[in-house]
């Protein structure tokens, strides 16, 4: 067992920044089974009206979720996690990739469960909306 988490409303989780490269998109496609070419083929992405290849929404969701599960320690403490995908994360083929910055804070504590609000930003704008999680504290 991991030690119970001590939190109160307003507690901020450690912020993390994640770099997403084209190689990460290839791995994500393989691991998730989402082989949609807009996540690896610039020609297809641009033909669909996108500026360039974009990250899988599920990769952005998973990276943002790491801020929660890293803090929780035991990933099994995450009871619920949901997001809206509001803007794409564009991943250029420039050797540097895209940087997504994620923060989270506790919005409620009730009966040993913390409710969290998660914020993920790319290029100065949020990319997830209504991103919330519930985490068992004990």
């Amino acid at each position: 067992m991991t030690a119970p988490l001590a939190v109160e409303v307003g507690t901020e989780l450690p912020e993390q920044s994640f770099t997403v490269t084209r190689a990460d998109l290839v791995r994500s496609a393989g691991a998730s089974g989402d082989v949609n070419p807009v996540h690896w083929n610039q020609r297809v992405a641009q033909a669909g009206g996108l500026p360039d290849v974009i990250a899988h929404g599920m990769l952005t969701m998973a990276l943002a979720g790491r801020v929660v599960s890293d803090w929780a320690g035991d990933p099994g403490r995450v009871l619920a996690y949901s997001v809206r995908f509001t803007r794409p994360v564009v991943v250029p083929d420039d050797g540097m990739g895209a940087t997504v910055t994620v923060s989270a804070k506790v919005t409620a504590v009730d009966d040993g469960v913390a409710a969290l609000s998660v914020t993920a930003s790319f290029d100065g704008q949020t990319v997830l909306g209504r991103a919330t999680a519930r985490v068992r504290l004990g």
Binding site: D24, G30, M58, A62, G65, S82, V83, F85, A133
Partner: protein, 152 residues
Amino acid sequence: MALNPAFVGRTFARPGTYLVGREKVREFASAIGDLNPASHDVAAARALGYADVVAPPTFAIVLALAASSAVVKDPELGLDYSRVVHGEQGFEYVRPVVAGDELSIITTIESVKQLAGNDLIATSGRITDATGAHVLTTRSLLVSRAPDEDPA
């Protein structure tokens, strides 16, 4: 193109079961940069009380995506899958998924609607284990963008 409203409420059982592999859990965790020992090291997972390595919270998309894409590609539904983007995603757990779980999923079409020319379809996936016990529910909203919309 309006979606076929007759699909609302329909359920689809994925044929067979999905066996959660230890290496698949490790591969998925590595792909999202998640180095939590509980998702890689059996002894670390057992120290937390689990039978085997613990899947990261979004792992169930592997199962849900395959199941729901089979459903929403039914031509009678009328969804233009080439214009589909992921609108929303959620996971509600009864217990975490661990390697060795043999999972079944039933996908339900919760709603279809049109908003600003976009087709929206909400699905849920109820995932159960080999004993029939509920493990988690996934919820997805897929958006098929209107043909003339400029997504930039």
